[in-house]
């Protein structure tokens, strides 16, 4: 990487905790992989009702509200000015399927006059990025990355690369997924097990280290290296290869040996076969303590930013993600 990439802010809306670095540091502190206390699933709805103004809420689907609140928390945490010089890279697995179903239902129930123009833009998965860009005044690139399991990790790796290349001065990167019972039921019926099980939104703010220092920003950590790739596997299946060139390359690029890692943040989430595969792939870094955040925070595309945040707060650490189907992402985060 040519320009060093600093992490200057974190923001998240999750069942256990909502807030910026201070609040999340508490929720992410070891042992962060314990099961969360039984939490009221409606807590996130209450957070949204509190933090999204009615005028805004009227025009934002629920998953877009989730993304926006987390994005705002991250930007405030970073103390970044809303001057347009911000890119967005948002990872998601399911996007706004709830709005897609509602849009279709409008037609099925009442014909053409039941179609809602207000809902239509939400049927394209970039709606969270599109609405967040408007609310946050983000005029650089805005990308939405759809992937099973590790969309958040991929988004952060992608954003870091754009910052490192000098293409954008700062980026909000991470992921969001909402858990809609109707959507979940249909997908479970059709796909027999898919990655999203919880709902949350989490983002980190990335900027050039020099830029961050120049504006006196608090530096939480650094993205020392990041890479994505794919191990051989059938779609949504578990593969047999245990050697990850992405892992090796990322560690080499960061100049960090396995012994120097304070932790490895994994994707262990109760999907036994996938968890076992990942464990085999991570054998080269077996000496470092493994921390899995999915138990406490739920499996969603927000995990990428949560893992990176945890790594930044207590680094240097490796963040690794391996999805069914073989998609993988590795990031070395310096504390």
């Amino acid at each position: 990487m040519t320009v060093r990439v600093a992490i200057t802010g974190i923001g998240a809306v999750t069942l256990p905790a909502t807030g910026g670095a201070a609040v999340l540091a508490h929720a992410l502190a070891p042992p962060a992989d314990g099961a969360g206390a039984a939490l009221d699933p409606e807590r996130i709805d209450r957070v949204l009702a509190e933090l999204v103004e009615p005028g805004e809420a009227r025009r934002l689907s629920r998953v877009s509200q989730l993304a926006l609140v987390a994005g705002r928390l991250a930007i405030a945490d970073a103390g970044l000015a809303a001057d347009g010089a911000l890119g967005l890279v948002i990872g998601t697995e399911l996007g706004d399927l709830r709005s897609t179903i509602a849009f279709a239902e409008g037609y099925l129930a009442r014909g053409a006059s039941g179609l809602s123009p207000l809902l239509f833009p939400n049927t394209v998965m970039n709606t969270m990025a599109s609405t967040a860009a408007i609310a946050l005044t983000a005029r650089e690139l805005s990308l939405t990355i759809d992937a099973p399991g590790i969309a958040g990790e991929i988004a952060i790796a992608r954003a870091a690369a754009f910052v490192a290349a000098g293409r954008i001065p700062a980026a909000l990167a991470g992921g969001v997924d909402e858990l809609d019972p109707a959507v979940a039921a249909v997908l479970a019926e059709a796909r027999g097990g898919f990655a999203v099980r919880g709902e949350a939104a989490a983002f980190v703010v990335l900027e050039s280290l020099a830029g961050a220092a120049a504006r006196g920003a608090r530096i939480l950590g650094e993205v020392r290296a990041a890479a994505t790739g794919a191990l051989p596997a059938s779609p949504y299946g578990v593969g047999r290869t245990s050697t990850s060139r992405v892992l090796a390359r990322t560690l080499a690029h960061a100049g960090v040996g396995p012994g120097a890692l304070r932790a490895v943040y994994t994707g262990t989430n109760g999907d036994g076969r996938r968890d076992a595969w990942e464990a085999r792939v991570l054998a080269p870094v077996a000496a470092a303590p493994r921390i899995a955040l999915a138990r406490r925070f739920g499996q969603s595309s927000a995990l990428g930013a949560l893992k990176v945040a945890a790594a930044a707060l207590d680094g240097p650490a490796l963040v690794y993600g391996l999805a069914r189907g073989g998609g993988e992402a590795a990031l070395v985060i310096g504390g």
């Binding site: 990487m1 025009r59 347009g84 967005l88 697995e93 399911l94 996007g95 897609t100 849009f103 279709a104 037609y107 099925l108 053409a112 179609l115 123009p117 239509f120 833009p121 049927t123 394209v124 998965m125 970039n126 709606t127 990025a129 599109s130 609405t131 860009a133 408007i134 005044t137 005029r139 650089e140 690139l141 805005s142 990308l143 939405t144 990355i145 759809d146 992937a147 099973p148 991929i154 992608r158 690369a161 754009f162 290349a165 293409r167 249909v186 997908l187 019926e189 059709a190 796909r191 890479a227 994505t228 790739g229 794919a230 191990l231 051989p232 059938s234 779609p235 949504y236 060139r245 998609g327």
Partner: protein, 394 residues
């Protein structure tokens, strides 16, 4: 930053399968927008669309969009002539929007007692997501590099090329397969209809009497390759991708910035990357959807960047409709082929240029022009702008 060549092309378009059929249609200025057969149009004013003709190929267990994507990606890879060993590190960046929605709709409609054209299988819902294409393609083509599905509405196909180019320029990979795919869907058709953005006749981009868009479907992929890697294996390539820029209007979820601010910024950034001045660009393949708003604002942005009348402008959507996630890549392909053949594809159905569009829109007949540099614009719903700049190979 390393230089990026286009070394393989693949397409499935409303003109049929293959790049050859695609270019033949474009060069002849043929309009492929016809009465729709894939979706039900009763009760709606617009009954036309640009559909890929019969014989998409592939197993009927796969979604139509997956089959379009596979045919185009495979053609591109074969065209590039890469060794099998290269596949292991090759990136796959796919622009997608509808995913397997067409089949998922058929299933859902049938469940609710509505008649549909085409089969309705629960299994189809398995591949509903935009990421399904990359998951399937990556596995079938044995691609082990970065695998990412990019969703930026109407500019997804172009954004995929921009992301892939960045991966190569930064040295993360040497080779990438990048492009987009979309099949017709009821939701897309009904949505644009509800917004009153569809013309009931084939669309007329930049025309004074234009009345809206036509929807289409297809897929196109290119192989992008680091110049040294291509040179080392003796591949000349078709053109060089010298600039790729993405900006966001951050203005409104459906309406573009009224002065085309984001569009102009994307074009200027791409030109700056390629170290090209506006005067060097001979052709702009426009986003040109034929909506009243897009064409007027895009023309204003073009004027701001190039000056009046200083560049040829045409819209491929006049022939193949708006192919959604495939648009950015099908149109990038058209731009590359224009450079290769020294022939600018026309704007079909163009009779009277709108006075607010101070450009030669290459009406109805393709124009022979030696070109050194050309750009392709894709401006997605919600203000997600992508400009790709290509240079003719020497």
């Amino acid at each position: 930053m390393r230089r990026v060549l286009v070394t393989g092309l693949g397409a499935v378009s409303p003109f049929g399968a293959g790049v050859k059929a695609y270019w033949a249609g474009l060069a002849a200025g043929t309009c492929a927008i016809r009465p729709a057969t894939l979706i039900e149009t009763d009760g709606f004013r617009c009954g036309v669309a640009a559909e890929v003709p019969d014989g998409v190929g592939g197993s009927s267990r796969r979604s139509r969009a997956d089959r379009l994507a596979f045919a185009a990606a495979r053609e591109a890879l074969e065209d590039a002539g890469l060794a099998a060993a290269d596949h292991r590190d090759t990136a796959l960046i796919v622009g997608a929007v509808g995913g397997g929605m067409l089949e998922a709709e058929a299933w859902h409609w049938t469940r609710r007692g509505r008649p549909v054209r085409g089969p309705a299988r629960l299994g189809a819902v398995r591949s509903i997501l935009p990421s399904a294409h990359a998951e399937s393609l990556g596995h079938r083509l044995g691609l082990g590099g970065p695998r990412e599905s990019i969703v930026t509405a109407c500019s997804s196909g172009a954004a995929s090329l921009a992301v892939a180019a960045e991966l190569i320029a930064a040295g993360a990979v040497d080779v990438a397969v990048a492009g987009g795919a979309d099949a017709l869907t009821r939701i897309c058709y009904m949505g644009f209809s509800a917004l009153k953005l569809l013309d009931s006749a084939p669309c007329r981009p930049f025309d004074r009497d234009r009345k809206g868009m036509s929807i289409g479907e297809g897929a196109a992929f290119v192989v992008l390759e680091a110049a040294e890697h291509a040179r080392a294996r003796g591949a000349r390539g078709y053109a060089e991708l010298t600039g790729a820029a993405m900006t966001t209007d951050a203005h409104h979820v459906t309406a573009p910035h009224p002065e085309g601010d984001g569009m102009a910024r994307a074009m200027r950034a791409a030109l700056a990357q390629g170290r090209v001045v506006p005067g060097d660009v001979g052709y702009v393949n426009a986003h040109g959807t034929a909506t009243l708003q897009n064409d007027r604002i895009e023309a204003a942005a073009l004027r701001a960047v190039f000056g009046e009348g200083r560049v040829l402008v045409s819209s491929t959507k006049s022939m193949i409709g708006h192919t959604m996630a495939a648009a950015g890549s099908l149109e990038a392909l058209a731009t590359v082929l224009a450079l290769v053949h020294g022939l600018v594809p026309p704007t079909a159905q163009h009779e009277h240029t709108d006075p607010e569009v101070p450009f030669d829109c290459v009406p109805r007949v393709a124009r022979e022009t030696a070109l050194a540099h050309a750009i392709s614009n894709s401006f997605g719903f919600g203000g997600q702008n992508v400009t790709l700049l290509f240079r003719a190979r020497p």
